[in-house]
Symmetry: C2
Subunit: 642 residues, 2 copies
């Protein structure tokens, strides 16, 4: 008998050789039907692989990231099986799962794949899925594997084999298809019920342009049709909401080759949004007792040697400027500058917590191929702040930051979010993590305690902490269900020591503070990119670059329009008048294209009665309103950030 330990700590005994699936069935048949793979002692296994000694077990379903990943990996094999049956002689390179779906790189001997042919392959995959063939694992000696692929004439798999040691080699077979594969896989093809091959692209073998161009087929699969339909609909909607497309149409941002890739230039409309976000941040931070600072964008090499960012982080930084025998770097983070401000005047316990905030602009090097709209850029405006506090103050300060996140989520209508408590990995102390095992455990416990007491839903992830301490990573979902990593709330017990920061405590002794790094609104770039998709460009009134457009039906009403405009501007409302000599229908359509929240249409009746006919974005005609009344309503809507 072997002992199997469940996630809740329960231990059960099973016969040696029992499989994960049998363990699941021993609990419930319903549960077993959902099992895609299992995690044995932290490693993902086939649910059908026999267990030979005591182990911990986690049953993995579609709801687990590892479950999805296994499902898509098996889907890649199903794709390969279908392709082989249609294109005999095809040779395969690799077929991994990706963030959403999977792909397989294949050598079709020069044949190209059309859209129609993609649909044929899909049909074949469905047919093979219905056969419900099991994925069967087989360990083979290296010599046997070499012989198998030599006979097949498959130079790609032979190349893969070169890198593997004897004893490491496994084959997986489903139906008539066998592949060299480390696994793991789902129990059988029948679980893959909904299939969509999304695109075909060329991909150089091993990513090297000197090599042969292979065919890469991308796909995505689901355990049921409903999820696939929803996903395709989301993609369709996401295309409409593409932040690059909306960003251009709405005059939010631009880039220019002479300035450089990944260097966003914020146009007037985007700058309004930036200023509204900064206003929100400043109000919120001021109420929470933060002070503001302004620091330069460069510093000498020595600052980053002290912080430890150099030489380790150099690849993510811009190259240095050499001047007067010194190297100057563009800052990739604001913390070292802020530490110097903390240190510029002596501090006592009366000054703590010392909270300093800055919308600091940082520069990070990203490969040009990685750059993407506002999501991956080289210049970032960061909603940054650093809180220097005593250990006793830590819990309250850390909780206050989490509360600030949640306050922001409410304002932006972000209903779905997850906080990931990212911890260190004890095996990587001194490499990926500062070698302070006791401090790691202590601060992790403090953070965990804060999260539990705050009642915030969170998950723990080992091995994703920052270099200098544990952190909370915040993931949010846009209105159409796409996931974004927003921001972090990090503890830092390492930098205060490196920078020799201290304050005089009540006993008149020098004491080292803790630091909290936080950026609830992330960067302007990523957050505004998110908001463009989230709102589909239809910003709430307080954020909208233009809040009201006045549309006179004809020239006759332009003077009254100007009067209304002046009243709006005086009330601090962003307004313009469309005084072009165009039909009112065209004026309305043009204003709708620019997604302006309010239109005030004015004609004879409105002028005579000193009213405006109000049309609201997404809600249509609101009837005729008294000017002062609508202005005071608008002011309230803007002030309360509805």
């Amino acid at each position: 008998m072997i002992k199997i330990t469940f996630p809740d700590g329960a231990v059960r005994e099973y016969q040696e050789g029992v499989t994960g699936m049998e363990v699941a069935k021993s609990i419930s048949e319903g549960l077993a039907r959902k099992v895609l793979a299992v995690k044995i002692n932290g490693e993902v296994w086939d649910a059908t692989r026999p267990l030979t000694s005591d182990a911990t077990i986690n049953l993995l379903s579609w709801d687990d990231a590892d479950g999805k990943s296994t499902f898509w990996h098996s889907s890649a094999h199903l794709l390969a099986e279908a392709v082989e049956s249609i294109y005999p002689g095809v040779k395969f390179w690799v077929g991994p799962p990706i963030e959403k779906g999977f792909y397989y790189d294949m050598d079709l001997g020069g044949t190209s794949v059309s859209e129609d042919q993609l649909r044929d392959i899909e049909k074949k995959m469905i047919e093979l899925s219905r056969q419900g063939n099991a994925y069967i694992r087989k360990e083979v000696p290296k010599a046997e594997a070499i012989q198998y692929f030599s006979e097949k004439g498959d130079e790609y798999k032979l190349d893969l084999l070169k890198g593997l040691n004897d004893g490491q080699i496994t084959f997986y077979t489903q139906g008539n298809f066998t592949d060299l594969c480390r696994g793991p896989h789902i129990p059988n093809t029948g679980l893959i019920k909904a299939i969509k091959l999304t695109s075909v692209a060329g991909a150089y073998w091993k990513g090297d342009e000197k090599n042969k161009m292979l065919t890469r087929v991308y796909g995505v699969t689901f355990p049921n049709q409903k999820e696939l339909d929803e996903y395709l609909q989301m993609l369709e909607e996401a295309k409409k909401r593409d932040h690059r497309k909306l960003g251009k149409e709405l005059g939010i941002f631009t880039t220019n080759d002479d300035v450089g890739q990944g260097l966003i230039m914020w146009m007037p409309n985007g700058t309004v949004i930036i200023e509204e976000l900064e206003k929100l941040a400043k109000e919120t931070e001021s109420a929470a007792g933060y002070k503001r600072v302004v620091t330069p964008h460069i510093a000498k090499e020595n600052l980053y040697l002290t912080s430890g960012h150099l030489p380790y982080y150099a690849d993510s930084m811009f190259p240095p400027m050499e001047m007067d025998g010194e190297k100057y770097y563009l800052k990739a983070m604001n913390c070292p500058h802020h530490h110097k401000i903390f240190d510029a005047e002596p501090k006592s316990y009366r000054d703590m917590p010392y909270r300093i905030a800055e919308y600091g602009t940082c520069y990070r090097y990203e490969q040009s191929g990685e750059l993407f709209g506002l999501m991956r850029v080289r210049c970032l405006h960061m909603n940054d702040a650093h809180i220097y506090c005593t250990k006793e103050q830590f819990a309250e300060e850390f909780k206050a930051v989490n509360d600030m996140y949640i306050k922001y989520f409410k304002i932006f209508g972000i209903g779905k979010y997850v906080m990931r408590l990212s911890l260190h990995d004890p095996e990587k102390l001194g490499q990926k993590y500062v070698n302070e095992p006791a401090l790691w455990l202590e601060t992790e416990a403090m953070v965990r305690q804060v999260m539990i007491e705050a009642g915030v839903p969170f998950v723990e992830v080992k091995g994703e902490g920052a270099f200098y301490g544990p952190k909370i990573d915040v993931q949010i979902w846009s209105a159409i269900g796409r996931e974004f990593t927003l921001a972090t709330n990090q503890v830092d017990f390492a930098q205060p020591l490196r920078f020799n920061l201290s304050f005089t405590n009540k006993d008149n002794q020098a004491e080292t503070p803790l630091i909290i790094h936080r950026a609830p609104l992330g960067t302007h770039e990523r957050f505004i990119g998110f908001l463009l998709e989230h709102y589909a460009g239809k910003f709430p009134t307080w954020l909208a670059p233009l809040q009201v457009k006045i549309l006179p039906i004809s020239d006759k009403f332009a003077d009254y329009g100007k009067e209304v405009l002046a009243m709006l501007l005086k009330a601090g409302i962003r307004a313009e008048m469309d005084d072009r000599n165009e039909k009112i229908g065209k004026k309305i359509r043009d204003t709708e294209l620019m997604k302006v929240p309010y239109m005030f249409v004015i004609g004879e009746k409105e002028m005579n009665e000193r009213m405006v006919a109000v049309r609201k974005q997404g809600a249509g005609d609101q009837g005729t309103k008294d000017i002062s009344e609508i202005i005071s309503n608008l002011k309230l809507e803007i002030e309360e950030r509805h």
Copy 2:
């Protein structure tokens, strides 16, 4: 007879050989007494030098920069005469006028000069001044000059002579002192009535540290004692108001060696001032129809090759960062980025004028020896904007910018200012100035017309225009009478062409706009440095980092103090409470040191009556006031920027 033309265009005839002084006397004896030198055909001459042909004349007095400069140059000779009489055998190097006064470098053969000895030299100078000796010019052949200084054993003057051609050499003698000197000089030593030798320093011969160290004596002189006394008092006051000293004491800014010289880090108190200035600028600019943009701090080399800043301006820029085979530069100005934003969307006459503003941060290389507090820095936050307009719109736009300057001057209590209309120099077209002679004349005329119509006092200066067009340089004087160069308002007809900018005019043709570059508040660095001196750190309430300090007389009143504090904060007033266990006298003194505009002292009586005892910075006790009343007064004072 020769014809002499006066500045007002009048022409008079004089005997050949007449001197400038005689010309002055022919107009009025009173006028002649003020003449220090004359400008003949644009060149400064001794007033006693005979005129041998037709010429234009300008009489130079103490009120002219060239008059002052000549006066101080002659004062340097007077210093030398005094030194020679006290230290026989002294040898002299050079003795030029400087911005405020003069110096003379001398070889005293190892003798040092004490403070007492400086006073002795001063006395001797006064004595020699009273002799009223004329400065006598004598042209000498080079051989004679060499013989004279060889006999004297003066290797310094012999060295100077090496660089001069025969026919160029003049001696100047006053009393017993003769010097090799190009001149010109004032008529006689008697005009130098008030003398102060300010300091002694070491200076390497020819500025080369391998050479001998000479003694440099600095001094300043005036035509009367009153002006000297005022100047010395201003220096004393300036020392107290030194922006570096106040900046540190008031927590305005700091620098750090690890960050780098000339890179200002704005502390929380300085950042409040920055944000208030930016708020003022944004309000003002928004009301004037500007839109805002945000651009990155770097760009590729090509942008600056297009603008023409590279290679000519490279010495003033930071060195490039080389990345992905491209050179990236920190921006030294915002214009090229703004031009790209103008160009990002097609423009029509309906979009003009297109005004975009940004508090852009620029980086400029200054020699480390030139760096000085906030006045000379390497990182500048600039109150920048660019106005793209048609020729027809130019005058109105340019005038609006000048009006904005004057509006700001009123807010900051800047009573004395001068606008300098800086023009091109036709001889330097194609070198220092874009080679567009017609456009220069046209735009200069436009600007002159605007200035005349606006009735703003201005002076014209040839050869100080920007590379790309004429400009207005604005000089302002602080409360203690020190002069600062603040900002510029520039016309640009060159960059629109270089960047190929255009808009579609009413005739549906592409037309090139004019650009106005303007920065009325200059840079945060220089302007806040100016304000620190101007206000002696006692900022008006709207700008003060901390506006109200609440001082409870004892712990008993702390709760009431907190209540008052909460009311102030709710009203948006920057307030703090001093809840230390200290005597009220000490609390008041500490608050005065931080130059907080208002103190609310609270004790038994105030608590019971829900009042506060108000002390105002510089005005003392204001009596006891009702809380709501004082809060609404304060809000008004802040809102109106009194």
